[in-house]
């Protein structure tokens, strides 16, 4: 069946531009996570949604980062006024479980953002 999809797969932005990254989770999955993965590092948590509710945004690095999931399915991660340190792969994951990040998460392929 269809997995988690993300678009675009690659994005190049000039410093100062705004970007929007899309995640289509597996249909019916309640939980949705965003992660940031720097080159050579493991994924780092950014934010978590349970349906349309953003229950945890403690990992967002600054107020330039904003995420939404208005209808409880598709999610968008927006980064305003991009900086070079925002260059990374942004991963989206979804889970059938309502609680507990320890339940199996299904990851998308990620969006590689390069800020020049």
């Amino acid at each position: 069946g269809a997995g988690v999809s993300q678009s675009p797969r690659y994005k190049v932005a000039k410093r100062g531009q705004d970007v929007a990254l899309r995640c289509d989770p597996i249909s019916g999955h309640v939980s949705l996570f965003w992660y940031q993965q720097a080159l050579g590092q493991g994924p780092e948590f950014l934010t978590y949604f349970q349906n349309e509710a953003q229950l945890d945004k403690s990992g967002l690095p600054s107020d330039r980062f904003f995420a939404e999931r208005p209808e409880g399915s598709v999610s968008t991660l927006k980064i305003q006024r991009t900086q070079q340190e925002d260059s990374a792969v942004y991963l989206c994951a979804s889970s059938l479980a309502r609680t507990g990040a320890a339940y199996e998460q299904y990851f998308g392929p990620g969006t590689r953002l390069t800020v020049t």
Binding site: V4, S31, F33, Y35, Q41, G42, P43, E44, F45, Y48, Q50, L55, D56, S58, G59, L91, C92, A93, A97, R98, T99, G100, A101, A102, Y103, E104, Q105, Y106, F107, G108, P109, G110
Partner: protein
């Protein structure tokens, strides 16, 4: 959050069994141990999860001693396609939010 420690890298040869050990000295009573695999340019993929003793699936086995302060992921007869980064994580099932910390993972290189 329980912190995990695992080797940065490991080398192996095709056909060998590979064991990757992870330490998690501060694991909590409700924490489960989960392993993910990540290939280049892909998101992580769930491999196996356990709470105690031994768990086996079609891909791997997970050995957890009684004190649960460590765990060992065992990959039988690895092939070149098993070259990847393997992450050990601990987290519970009861709470929402940021309960998964990936760390740096173990880079496994399988050689012919």
């Amino acid at each position: 959050l329980a912190k995990t420690t695992q080797p940065i890298s490991m080398d192996s040869y095709e056909g060998q069994e590979v064991n990757i050990t992870c330490s998690h000295n501060n694991i909590a009573t409700n924490d489960y141990i989960t392993w993910y695999q990540q290939f280049p340019s892909q998101g992580p993929r769930f491999i196996i999860q356990g709470y105690k003793t031994k768990v086996t699936n079609e891909v791997a086995s997970l050995f957890i001693p009684a004190d649960r302060k460590s765990s060992t992921l065992s990959l039988p007869r690895v092939s070149l396609s098993d070259t990847a980064v393997y992450y050990c994580l601990v987290g519970d099932r009861a709470h929402t939010g940021n309960m998964l910390t990936f760390g740096g993972g173990t880079r496994l290189m399988v050689k012919p």
